[in-house]
Amino acid sequence: MDADVNLAGDVDSFLETNGRTFMMTRRKDGAPTIHPMAGFYGEGRLFLNMYSKSRKHRNLQRDPRITCLVTTPSDSEDFRAVVYRGHARALPPEETLSDDAPLGVRTARVGSMGGVLQGNADESRFQSEDPDDLRKRAKILVERIANQTRVLWEVVPDQLGFLDGLRAERD
């Protein structure tokens, strides 16, 4: 395993628990930009869901290099973050909607409220949501994935670990 990719138990546990994700890419003019996202992590893999017409999608199509900072909630007293950095890979619709898609993909697409209730996705993420509102959003999401209005991207890391340990200037 690459020495810069540290998926130790505490990092994996942190990513399982925290979905607040800041996605960083370069704009067309070369400046850095940030998009706050919901990251969908499971079984050691991180996925992001976005509109295909969005600037973040176009940024990744132009240059797939990506840095994600996955952090504790905004009102947490103890701020911690994991750096999840590497290249992004767009998933085709058939892979995204497959019955045996990875856990992170199944959670990201929330195929149906029934899927959430049946444990097909990580239902704990949605406990604060109104069930009827969530069902409406989930149905729209699946339609938009099928017609490629929305696309899932996987972040394939070549650098992964707590920010504390990676923050220092490199030689």
Partner: protein, 140 residues
Amino acid sequence: MSPEELSSFLGSFQRLVLATNDRDGGTWGDAVAYHFDGSRLYFRVPEHTRSLANLRSDDRVCCAVESHPQGASYYAIRAALIHGRAEPLDGSQESSVLPALNGDPVDGSSTGPVFSVGLDDVVSFAFAKIAYRYQDRSDL
């Protein structure tokens, strides 16, 4: 957000997420203490960090302030993304903002230069304003 909402929002928090251009050609992310004085953001980047090395090579930044309390619904999300060039402060300018930065629970005791960025290129959103898009969808 309206200008008034944005000003109130930025004045409510102490920590932002900072994106810089990395010397390997990609981007790099960090989180630092900040202070907002009504017109500019001020943030301190600790010494010997990758972010500081990046800034000295390329002063373009994006600063993100985001709020989504744990357990709150999707429609509670608010955020502001500020793009610009990080301008270093001199010693006399720093003294006016250091007390606010020193109060940060994570980086309050760190040392490092202070930078500022204006609000000329800001994207902000409050998802409570789009809840109506789903509430009226009786066809779903």
